[in-house]
């Protein structure tokens, strides 16, 4: 992914916004996108996907599956696994040449075994043409050579800063800061007011990786450059770590131990007033049986992660892909299934049922009412548009997957933030650890 300046970003954003504003027009024009595919006779499909984060997701997904089966006469079996367990299963399926026809997985899984996956360029082109194009991060993940698509993006679980409006106002801020300097001031003010924020710094696969990568990138640091050379030990990283140290001082105690569920619990208990998370905290509050927690929902709002010296948004979100394996006896049926699920008639209601937990990968779906029915949903709408891939700025594959799974960036930030190591020492250690994965 090329380096983008603030001005370039504004141009692209303006373009996308203008495109979205003229959405219906584009839609009509591109509705002529051609698709022809004849599923194999007698086809049966097995789909392995990550377990739902919100109930509405799986309910609507299965309704769509049933609609597909009714329309095409193709039986589809759907298995669910925790999202972290899908990765090893998908890899084993790829290696042994047996398993589900379609796997819905995360991040850079497809980049580990691209040669084992069915080329879905025709489908990606059709969907992209029909629905206003794919966001750039989709190509970074699933079109690694710039030509062929090795999977179809499904979306991402967006992360925003979830905050208490009343606390932010009480701290002297009329609106949520949009840059890292302002954000630090807010966090300091919240701490002084006795309503601190808190970000996970334990080995939290989701929440830990998401915000520490944002921080690193916000200051211009990165694990690797475009040629996969490890460059994390840089002045930009040190600046990010110095910032992390100041930020950590404003956190509620105990964040070094936080795993993925901790910030949700602490926020809903009123102990934390700002934390990065999916939309689930807001919905847990909104649908809570506890009147006190339900009341909190009115005070919750969301903001995109602040922009740092890098000058552009630098978010990381949990990316979802859809892969068809070459060993499948029914690749055409599998393609048809993914096409069907991605079409407006199915994808739209699914997005709504998932209450904004999954952000769309196709530009046209910005118009889905889920993003405007409640203005508090809107920041999550842009999660795909502004995110970077996990292996930024290099190529993705075993190295990027291994480095993230080993919490190299999370540990580096935690070490520096907590004062266990100086920023310089933490960056040096991360460099050594990462070099192992990217084998110098």
């Amino acid at each position: 992914m090329g380096k983008m300046k603030r001005r370039d970003f504004l141009k692209v954003s303006a373009g996308i916004t203008a495109g979205a504003a003229a959405g219906p027009m584009i839609w009509v024009k591109d509705a002529h996108a051609q698709w022809s595919n004849a599923p194999e006779k007698g086809a049966k499909l097995r789909v392995l996907r990550w377990s739902r984060f919100v109930q509405g997701d799986i309910d609507q997904y299965m309704k769509n599956v049933q609609a597909f089966s009714a329309k095409y006469g193709i039986e589809v079996r759907v298995d669910n696994e925790g999202w972290e367990d899908v990765r090893p299963k998908a890899a084993v399926a790829a290696n042994t040449g047996a398993g589900p026809d379609i796997i819905l997985s995360t991040h850079d899984d497809a980049n580990m075994y691209p040669e084992k996956l069915v080329d879905v360029t025709d489908l990606a082109n059709y969907l992209g043409k029909k629905y206003g194009g794919w966001y750039p991060v989709c190509e970074a993940y699933l079109r690694p050579n710039g030509k062929n698509w090795i999977g179809i993006p499904l979306g991402c679980a967006g992360n925003c800063l979830v905050y208490r409006e009343s606390h932010v106002k009480a701290a002297g801020f009329s609106s949520f800061p949009r840059d890292t300097d302002g954000f630090l001031k807010l966090m300091k003010a919240l701490k002084e007011k006795g309503t601190p924020g808190g970000f996970a710094l334990g080995n939290a696969t989701g929440d830990g990786n998401v915000w520490t990568h944002w921080l690193l990138w916000a200051f211009g640091g990165k694990l690797v450059d475009a040629s996969n050379k490890v460059v994390i030990n840089s002045p930009e990283t040190i600046k990010a770590l110095e910032y992390a140290k100041e930020l950590y001082a404003t956190f509620v105690p105990g964040t070094l131990s936080w795993l993925d569920p901790n910030n949700n619990k602490a926020f809903l208990d009123g102990q934390v007033s700002v934390t990065p998370n999916g939309i689930s905290i807001y919905y847990a509050a909104k649908t809570s049986q506890d009147a006190k927690v339900k009341e909190m929902a009115a005070d919750i709002n969301h903001a995109n992660m602040p922009i740092g010296p890098a000058g552009v948004p630098t978010e990381l979100n949990l990316f979802f892909n859809q892969m068809i394996f070459k060993y499948s006896k029914y690749p055409k049926a599998a393609k048809e299934f993914i096409r069907f699920m991605m079409e407006q008639e199915q994808y739209g209601p699914w997005m709504q049922a998932a209450i904004g937990y999954v952000t769309h990968p196709l530009v046209a779906y910005e118009k889905n009412p889920i993003w405007t029915v409640d203005p508090k949903h809107t920041p999550y709408r842009d999660s795909m548009k502004i995110m970077r891939p996990i292996g930024y700025a290099g190529r993705m594959g075993y190295a990027s997957a291994g480095a993230a799974a080993d919490f190299i960036v999370v540990n580096m930030v935690a070490e520096a933030a907590s004062g266990q190591r100086t920023p310089k020492e933490a960056a040096e250690r991360a460099q050594k650890r990462a070099e192992r994965y990217y084998k110098v």
Binding site: R87, P253, L256, L259, N262, D406, R433
Partner: protein, 299 residues
């Protein structure tokens, strides 16, 4: 065929075949495969190539692996020692004629019966930075003014997971030692009492020597279970904070499965074997002091 079936040796071999097959398929082959993988750069989903000792050389210099080794040794030694003394103490108490003896003997097993994942979740809450019941009680009693950071401070986290392991492991030690205590003939205690032995002398010269074979077995198993512990750590800390509670088993999993580095993960797992063998050898040769058990002195 008839002669073969009448041959005691041939028949013996035949009867042993199913057991041998099970051992080969479920023990020897996986262990052999693990050893082999440790010498390759295998990834999940990709067959590896032979890299010799490269994985081990890297692990030797890897600060996280070294930390995990230190954590594992500390965890095993501290938890095993505590489990032994607490277990022995409990066993001796339960061996007395107490009221509701059967109830207490059954109740003591509870921590061992509860699935580890469930008790780990309970401890996760008990040690939570924001919701810890311990901190809550101490705050209410006015003994502390802020919650204890059980899992956020590296040393607090180490002792917290050791405490969870001890809680879970003590019943196994206590009940097994209780079984051992009940095999000791009361006449030996009567004879010792007639000789004027004090309770301590009875314990030291009668109970302990006769209990040693059981202690050797139970502590061997206890050390093995503790050294290879995974579930408690994975649920409570996932190896954090700052890898301060990563054990060899959890690090091996993290590198091999989510990280995809199957060869390196296997190498970490295989690196545990010499330590486990040493623990077994110590238990068998160190604690099986037969002469001492019979009132003599081992040479």
């Amino acid at each position: 065929m008839h002669r073969l079936l009448n041959n005691r040796n041939a028949l013996g071999m035949l009867f042993m075949l199913p057991a041998a097959a099970l051992l080969v398929v479920f023990l020897t082959y996986p262990l052999g495969l693990g050893v082999w993988l440790g010498f390759t750069d295998a990834k999940i989903g990709r067959t590896g190539e032979w890299v010799g000792l490269e994985n081990y050389e890297f692990l030797w210099g890897d600060s996280v692996t070294r930390l995990a080794l230190f954590n594992t040794l500390l965890y095993t030694v501290a938890a095993s020692v505590l489990k032994f003394f607490l277990g022995l103490w409990l066993a001796i108490i339960l061996n007395q004629n107490l009221p509701f003896k059967s109830f207490f003997r059954a109740a003591i097993l509870l921590p061992y019966i509860v699935p580890t994942a469930l008790s780990a979740i309970a401890f996760w809450w008990i040690f939570d930075a924001q919701f810890s019941i311990i901190s809550w009680v101490l705050t209410r009693l006015g003994l502390i003014d802020r919650y204890i950071d059980f899992l956020g401070d590296p040393w607090n986290a180490r002792w917290s997971v050791i405490a969870a392991n001890v809680w879970r492991g003590v019943p196994f030690v206590a009940i097994t030692l209780l079984a051992g205590l009940q095999t000791i003939s009361p006449t030996l205690y009567e004879a010792a009492a007639i000789d004027g032995a004090s309770p301590w002398q009875r314990f030291w010269h009668v109970t302990l020597p006769l209990l040693t074979p059981i202690i050797a077995v139970v502590m061997t198993f206890s050390v093995l279970f503790t050294f290879t512990d995974f579930q408690l750590i994975y649920v409570i800390t996932r190896g954090g904070p700052l890898n301060a509670t990563h054990l060899m088993a959890t690090l091996s999993f993290q590198r091999a499965i989510p990280g995809g580095a199957l060869g390196e993960g296997a190498a970490i797992a295989i690196a545990m074997v010499p330590f486990l063998l040493a623990a077994i050898l110590f238990s068998y040769f160190g604690l099986q002091r037969r002469a001492w058990q019979q009132g003599g002195t081992d040479r």
